[in-house]
Symmetry: D2
Subunit: 459 residues, 4 copies
């Protein structure tokens, strides 16, 4: 009953993550009989694509399996009859991320890839592109599944569900996997004994854990966390502890990104320090990428290099390959993904995207109904989802006022002159990648921006 062969397409295939994905596919080849992989990238990423593509082919060649790796800048050619499409592209490359980080920090606001001002602009740039990809998929591979890794993964999923008719999409993130890989040990249990219930949004979810007796062991994990047991906090978030009284009261485990909100003061301070000294995350990633690309060019290399695991995407291939296999083999595996809510998070509308515990199979994600959250979590969640809705709509319509509304709502951006200044500067800095805002940006450019953007873009 299964299809004989599988065609995988990776958009943003020139990413240095790609070898991890190849590694995952090789390990699961018995579950996923891939015959061809297409790595797609844009002109600006051509060089990376070539280097990465060659390594990918060497990796497959070194495996027992015959898989042809195609590298192309022609997205349509790649998508034709694809079975699975994974997306890991970055509109504007790391240069754009550097602006997302450095411009806000230069004004004392958080610049981060998926949170604060930076996250909003990443969404504004990415959403129109993902919609174009969907349009191509509708025409060229209507039965394919889209496994999205491009950040902000939740808003990308939201935009697809809300502004296109495509439903074969799953938004992935490695944050929940991290938690599930580390937490069980912290209470001397194994993952298979436990039941995880995640609910929330991408990079803004909470979870609760139950043991083999059905007892809630969330408080035990919280306790372990404060006793220095590793509970899977992503490497790229400053290790500021949550306030214990807060977590005890919640009886939920927050995700690492909640630090930006629950410990806003300290994470902002650390971010500004890095901005002023060692450089922001994007700059570090840029440097790491250069090192990785250098390694990748070693023609004798045919395995995933160790250095890659420091890149921040731990379990990235775990998530992606497991999700693809779960769909292909109708496995109903528990994976936490961004998908249509349908009531799973009862505090949000049915038709929006949420990130929740799902059982993934041939029909896609079956989200687990979590019920309602307590008022504290509910308030945060409803704010964030509504902010996301403003951003998605602004990304599609090019509505400046709505983008401004999102800025002012964002808990990491105090409303006022600075917010206005930062949004305007980011609009101007990214104008090349924001064609739908062309008119609004033209108006802004008429107004004087005193400090040159350039200055704040380097340490």
């Amino acid at each position: 009953m299964q299809r004989k062969s599988l065609k995988i397409v990776t958009i943003g295939g020139g990413s240095t993550y790609t070898p991890e994905l190849i590694d995952g596919f090789i390990k699961r080849y018995d579950e996923l009989p891939i015959t061809e992989m297409w790595l797609v990238d844009v002109e600006e990423g051509k060089n990376k694509l070539e280097i990465v593509g060659k390594l990918a082919q060497r990796m497959w060649n070194a495996s027992p399996y015959r898989v042809k790796v195609h590298c192309t800048l022609d997205r349509k050619a790649a998508l034709k009859d694809a079975d699975f499409v994974t997306t890991q592209f970055r509109v504007g490359q790391l240069e754009a991320r550097i602006k997302d980080e450095r411009i806000p920090f230069s004004y004392g606001l958080l610049g981060q890839e998926t949170n604060g001002a930076g996250g909003i602009f990443k969404a504004l740039r990415t959403i129109p592109v993902i919609i174009e990809i969907i349009e191509d998929m509708m025409a060229l591979c209507p039965n394919a599944w889209l496994i999205n890794f491009t950040n902000p993964s939740g808003m990308v999923t939201e935009a697809i569900l809300r502004y296109t008719r495509w439903r074969r999409v799953i938004g992935l993130c490695n944050v929940p996997v991290n938690a599930m890989m580390k937490e069980p040990q912290s209470i001397d249990a194994t993952l298979s004994e436990l039941t995880y219930k995640f609910a929330g949004l991408n990079h803004f979810h909470w979870h609760r854990v139950f043991d083999h007796n059905g007892d809630d062991v969330t408080a035990k994990i919280i306790d372990a966390m404060y006793n220095n047991r590793d509970t899977g906090i992503p490497a790229n978030i400053h290790k500021v502890p949550f306030l214990r009284e807060q977590l005890d009261r919640m009886n939920l485990l927050p995700c690492g990104y909640h630090r930006y909100y629950y410990r806003q003061e300290e994470t902002l301070k650390r971010g500004i320090e890095e901005y002023q000294t060692t450089g922001t995350r994007a700059e570090k990633v840029q440097q790491m990428e250069a090192e990785l690309l250098a390694l990748y060019q070693d023609q004798t290399l045919s395995t995933k290099p160790e250095l890659l695991s420091q890149r921040g995407g731990l379990y990235y291939s775990e998530s992606a390959c497991e999700a693809i296999s779960a769909i292909y083999n109708n496995k109903h595996s528990h994976i936490v993904v961004s998908t249509r809510n349908d009531g799973a998070v009862a505090d949000l509308d049915d038709d929006c995207a949420v990130e929740v515990s799902c059982f993934i199979g041939a029909a896609g994600a079956l989200p687990i109904a979590f019920g309602r959250l307590a008022p504290a979590e509910r308030g945060w969640l409803q704010l964030m989802k509504n902010m996301e809705l403003c951003i998605c709509e602004a990304a599609v319509t090019g509505d400046y006022g709505l983008a401004l509304q999102a800025f002012i709502m964002n808990p990491l951006i105090p409303g006022g002159e600075t917010a206005k200044r930062v949004i305007d500067e980011l609009f101007i800095a990214h104008r090349k990648y924001l064609p739908r805002f062309a008119e609004a940006i033209a108006r802004l450019e008429g107004t004087e921006i005193k400090d040159p953007i350039a200055r704040r873009l380097s340490v």
Copy 2:
């Protein structure tokens, strides 16, 4: 990490179904290391309990496993430290069911175990008893799971969730299993390839099916149904076909019990015919029970007899044993159960009981979020759930006016004098088992009931 031994308690253990349950446990012994089984019944069922209990012990004795079967009328003694409690009791025995059926039919209304006037009175009798059982469990086995089979299973679950603090409960029914066992063949598929999404209430749910490509194959199964393929309609429902235009429009598979509503005219007519001729379902069951009990007394019998499968509870042990094993072994098996909604059926309140596709594990049922139904199904569903809420509240409070409201709401009971007459006659007929309505019934008994109830209780 697993418990060393398992104590199972079955309330209503004298039921002729019990051998099926034993058979299921024997087949799954490697998953469920049972050491003792306690069959509990009431004084009126003492004789049956003895017969059934002896057969149960012979069945275990004939198996490779050493399990002691205890028979008792002392519920508290049995519940002490139980791991799993299954409930299959019938308040008032089959005599009460006969009244539930014959009194309404004598007035031209549907008398049925879980639908119409009969279903309402079964709920009114059963709910106070299940609440007493829960009180015992809170004291004697607070970590046990209750697997309820007693009808009306959905309202029993609703009452537990709403009027007690007990959460370790799963309401089971074999109707969904039937569908999943039969339908795949009707479209030349296997169950493991398909994805089932059930949503609704006990005996009032719909489902949609997806194939290994993620495509909706509901219409294919509807088509098969009209081409005489077996799609798992329960044996005890008259085979009146649904109106095809309706099903095509719904693109959902109804459950067998929907016939009482979608083909109300014909099912009522058939029921009245049986009432007037061969006897109602309860009377047939009574006869079958006598035959079964005669068989069970054969001291050489140590296996489940073939005749039992005609009793109507096909896959009964399948559901119960799989649910228990899924909890015990944290299997996350897909089973359709009555559980707290938590948003899974987004058209109903979070805090009510629904019957939906769940993944069952150590933490109980993880319901799959189904989203909203189309207006036609939504309207039916909301009516039925609100009627259930009236019945549950009436059962707990003894509020006659509320029971009357439920009667008038019930789509199978036209509002008016006859409804009033039937509810009053049923109250009087069941007064022994409705202590909370004692005052209301006393008032009724002052009023003249012209025709003797007795007359309508025999063919």
Copy 3:
């Protein structure tokens, strides 16, 4: 600030109700400075329009005010620059209503103008026409208000809100006014002392009443009702009392039309008796109309004749004129109308039409938030609204399967062969007025309808 003059357009102006409307306008002339009235009708109503139009002009001539009455079959000409448009048309005239009543009764089902099978077909015929009227209004009088009286008034409003972009609409009915006119006396109070809160749907609403101390006096009115005080039951509903225990429990006053549901058995029986003997309501109305038209032709008549008040539309002009004046003069008068829910009836979606207590002013209806209903009322309400949604969608799309769904959902129509037979016969009988169902009806006509429709259309 007020407009100098007012142009009123009445669609279905040939109705024998029109003199009541004129009478109302004359009495309120100081609030509503009308300068021209346009009575619009269709070819089939030309004769009535002429008779009624002449009487209307005589009534204005006998008043102190100079108002020109225009009679026309050209709707567009009439609508041009209208300020208020009232609709009281009947698609297919009384002949269609007779079919709506007699065909269902001939099968033992309720035939009634706004309930049961008849109400469904009246909606199917009327909705496409009202949508055409709205299209004309968008082009010809975009600032006008539509005051709809055409039944089923709630579904007509629902269809306008859901399938057009027009928002200046109010759905009126005289049932709530009746209650408010009669009930206060039944408890020796005056209307101005009391506070009324109505909630529900057109012809399916409940209300609660509070006195000058803020105390709930609903129970007092229920008591008065059972003590033979007049509480405003519409003349055209059989006087079968509600079951007292039900009303006591509800602590809400139902509307007269609830009898069709709460006393379904008796109202159906009475309806069938009339069908078999004196003729259905439509036939009586037809006769009364003939008498009225005979009266209207008396050239000396220049006032509303007494006989009109027996026609069934008591307080019709009261409602219509008060609503128009409340809008024109921004009066914020309390009137019960069909309007967009917006949360007022919290058990229904925001975007649907409900009939609730509103304060009416220049911005239209401000609905009073009623909160949630108790489960019994909620269940009924949700069923009825979802049935309405099916009917409205079917009316617009011509979807036979959806109309069938509505039939089967309808609490007055038991699902089954008879339901199928009646819907098919009604489709064929009304084919001239159901162009959107042309294809479905053509298929039906291929199937044999054994009994000639004609037979059941006369006593």
Copy 4:
């Protein structure tokens, strides 16, 4: 039908506002036949009560009406058989407000009476007291209405609705009245021509305005606001303009307090400047109160002095007296009050308190259903209401963790060490008035608070 006499009780009667209230009652005496007024205060306010009470009596004596003013510290004696109870008390007097303001400002956070850290602590102190008052009212004047002015008025109403069974309460505020008094002139209209729809929470609501044609004129008022027309911004909020693009997009008028959020940066800066220089608002009020009390002691004064209008409570008596009259006379006047939602603001739960346009009559507030808000407003609103729910629950339970959650959620308080420091310092500073937190505060006092609170309490 009306009661012969009226007893009004004012809790916090020693407030310098009281003369405004008396002035309002005198002006409306024909509507409100008051015979006795009871001014209640606590020991700490005894002196003020005496001064204010004497002026109040002189004011009545100078009027044509015979009203006796009673001053008492015995709340129970005062409440006995009251008809209306108004509350304007301040737990901890202005000294507590000074702490609410100065402690947060000393750490760079907003200290304000109803917003930010200060507002949270005012709620924590006030809610237990209002619940005690309700308990007294239940026993002593169960038919009275409570007209609450004590801030935070919305949370006080929420706590009453959620934690008591009292329903005869209306939460008042003069902010909406201000808008309705000023805005119409800004577009050359009169209030009676316009329709106002307010929705949101106390000090966090938006409104939309319609003209006599039913056209939305919100944009016109926004335009007028940016053209320097007075649109009723309360005197005690810094005049920082909203960002115009935001308001244009919203097409809603925010309330003045939205500045704390939409222009957080600037309002915080201004607040800190005042803290460091001229003193916070509380300190200015304190000074003004001293001046007012000096004036009030002038035995020849028998009218409301002009200076009082600078106190900040413009239209305070307008709101209070109109609300009382509307209830007493069943007027159904449009007033914006805090009341039970019941669906009026469809984005919030039915059972919470909202501040919306209502028609006020004998049965209390009839809230106008506003429907759903756009995502930007919805997100803010849901955050704020859920934060309020945390505060109310914490106030009742004394749960420190929940109060901390509210702090971290508050958009004016960045999560982190400073938030923790400020909440702890406020808990210690207010310990006398927070008996339910006694245990939590005792734990805090064990921890070292380095800087003496005293230092930050004076300029």
